[in-house]
Amino acid sequence: MGVIIILVFFSVLVAGGFLVAFIWAVRSGQYDDRYTPSVRILFDDESESKK
């Protein structure tokens, strides 16, 4: 049964990883503008050769 303690430890560790990822996402500004990127992604890449 002692294995449960190790499993709990790992599950908290993994969940903590997601918490860190979330905090990183907020800090890097991903939640600042929740509209513009949805438009930006639809622009085609530039085809420079096109005249």
């Binding site: 049964m1 709990v8 908290v12 903590g16 907020v26 503008d33 513009t36 438009v39």
Partner: protein
Amino acid sequence: MQISEVNLKEGTLCYHCGDVCNKSLDIQSGDKVFCCTGCKTVYEILHENNLCKYYDLDNSPGISQKKLESAASSRYSYLDDPKIVTQLTSYNDGKISVSNFVLPQVHCSSCIWLLEKLYKLNSGILHSEVNFVQKTVTIKFNPNEISLRQVVELLTAVGYEPQISLSDIENKVKFRSNKSLYYKIGVAGFCFGNIMLLSFPEYLAPVGSLEHSFKQFFGLLNLVLGAPVLFYSAGDYFKSAWSGIKQRSINIDFPIVLGLVVLFIRSSFEIITNTGVGFIDSMTGLIFFLLLGKIFQSKTYDALNFERNYKSYFPVSVTLKRSAGETSIPVSNLKNGDRILIRNNELIPADAILFNGNANIDYSFVTGESIPVPKVAGEIIYAGGRQRGSAIELEVIRTVSQSYLTQLWNKDTFIKKDEDKFNSLVNIVGKYFTVVILFVAAAAFMYWYPTSLRTAINAFTAVLIIACPCGIALTNPFALGNAVRILGRKKLYAKNASVVERISKIDTIVFDKTGTITKTGDADITFNGSVLSSIEQKLIKSLVRNSTHPLSGRIYDAIETNELLEVTSFVEHSGKGIEAVIEGNTIKLGSALFAADNNKILLGKDRNSAKLDSRIFLSINGSIKGFFAINNIYRKGLEEITSEFKDKYKLVVLSGDNEGEKENLERFFNYKSTICFNQSPHDKLEYVKELQAGGHKVMMIGDGLNDAGALKQSDVGVAISEDVTNFSPACDAILDASEFSSLNKLIGFSKTTKKIIIISFVISVIYNILGVTLAFQSEISPLLAAILMPASSITVVLFTVLSTNLMARKRGL
């Protein structure tokens, strides 16, 4: 607007901005047609740089360049001033500079595309990023290659003129963010989820079957995970409860904090002494729900600005005229006696005396009235007006902050904080609630004390825990937050959730006249005098066609004839009128004195009454034919609104104008209403103050800077605006002018929301009574707490959200 077909090539729209093109101008580039040279220039810049994809993403995405007069090249010379440059850049290391600009013109995906391709237009620009919702662009550029001024000029050249105002200089453009709330909710969610997992064995296992060592391990882990939730995530509740106590009042956060702290202490005690598992799961769950409510409530309209004062409208710099020549200085440095030069479309930043030139001042900004007022040399021109026409020279008599209009902002009203003026229902309930709970908890303690101290403490803490008013605390954010969203759909944008609650309390509505209940830029024109023959109509229409004065445009639209005659020797006398010779007839249009030039005036008494409203006199070959009277057009729906309001509310109209419209206004407002004329901005503020002193809750509805004081002083200040992103003084809510007619529905809905809140309070108090009855017997199991607390929260959230939605639908919102 009616557009006569004679003038237009059928169906030709400007390739750049989509406006109708004037055939006679015939502006073309390649096979593309444009409405003005400005649009054509922008197209050519984009064409040269291979950026024409701009036009593929959306049809005619451009911004009409017609209104932008070819600005003097020195217009942005103030941006060469290193002091201003540092104030406008948020980052600078000598190689890279970063600046934020507000671009109100941003409106479609083409805008985003073009503004993020700026690096193609100038290699000095390294990167640019648009925030569509806030209508801003962040530009990273190399200051050695391109100066800030050149960046601004480049933006202007492609049709996106940045809005740079005095307030940007004085305090840098702030970008609101509630990142800390996201962190808090992240931590709370993480801990809550894990604690629930760790608590499940306790819920599911038959009593006593869970191995003892696990029980304690899970308990301690819960405690470790619960601590950051209480001390970090719930930190704002501690702060708010403490600031309440400091002001000697108890708000709703006090019983919440009390419940949370007792929960935590009792749980720690149970876990550490190994006598129980505690209620950490309920505690974290409660905090998580409360924070969710906060996020829901914090719906904000990023593109709107509710905090504007005159500084947001005033220009950054002004052209100073010295004997040595012209220099550009920041307006805050203006001193009395300075001689300044104001060009066409520039704003007058300080009270000044007209020294020289033909002043034609448009005060639409201040009063809502868009017809320019002519001024002659020697007259005082108040700050806030915009010059229309040729450049004028002024001598400053009062500095910017001491001007007639701007003095308003030195009043106490603007120093007071917002929170002071309103005591929310939830805090009043919270106060009584706390008293009752403490009393019940004490009673439980006394009741059990003879039995055993331990049971007494258990009962005491159990009451405080179970009575934690989470339901009440969740009602407000969800009911009001949802109401803000519903009102926003109907284009009434509230600054925050408490505005909805304040609207529900009002009993007096004060209207401004010009621009608020009358429509700006639209008026009803009637001709009084001898009947005009069709030839005379043609003469007038041909005459006004040549003038750019806004009144000419209105007369042009009002005359229904399509045939135009050739005009010779057209002269525009700024501030007086226009004249021309058409097919041998001398025709004059303008003020009474101008039109009747030989002074053998007029239709008798009319000369004296001519002041009361805008009249434009017409003379043909020296004889007065009559005058065009411009009557205000009242907004659609005003009649229904006033007829519905006049029994429910006290109605007041405060007009800065003279009594010319009195009779018309009295048609809408009954004898119980008050109508005051000639109100200065200060008078309006004082009037609202007086009403409040008489115990009234006042809603002020206004539009211009002259209403700013009254808007701020009132309990709810609503600014009405034709274009919500552009133009509105500081206020609590912004109403889109197109939805003026649904004002009564919106106020009615706010009142219903308050009723829903009260019902929801009752529901959560019933839950509390149920819980407290159980707690009084000192019998609460963690499982019961874990069920009862979320159950009451979820009931309250569902009830408020569903019922506000239902009520909105019922009212047709």
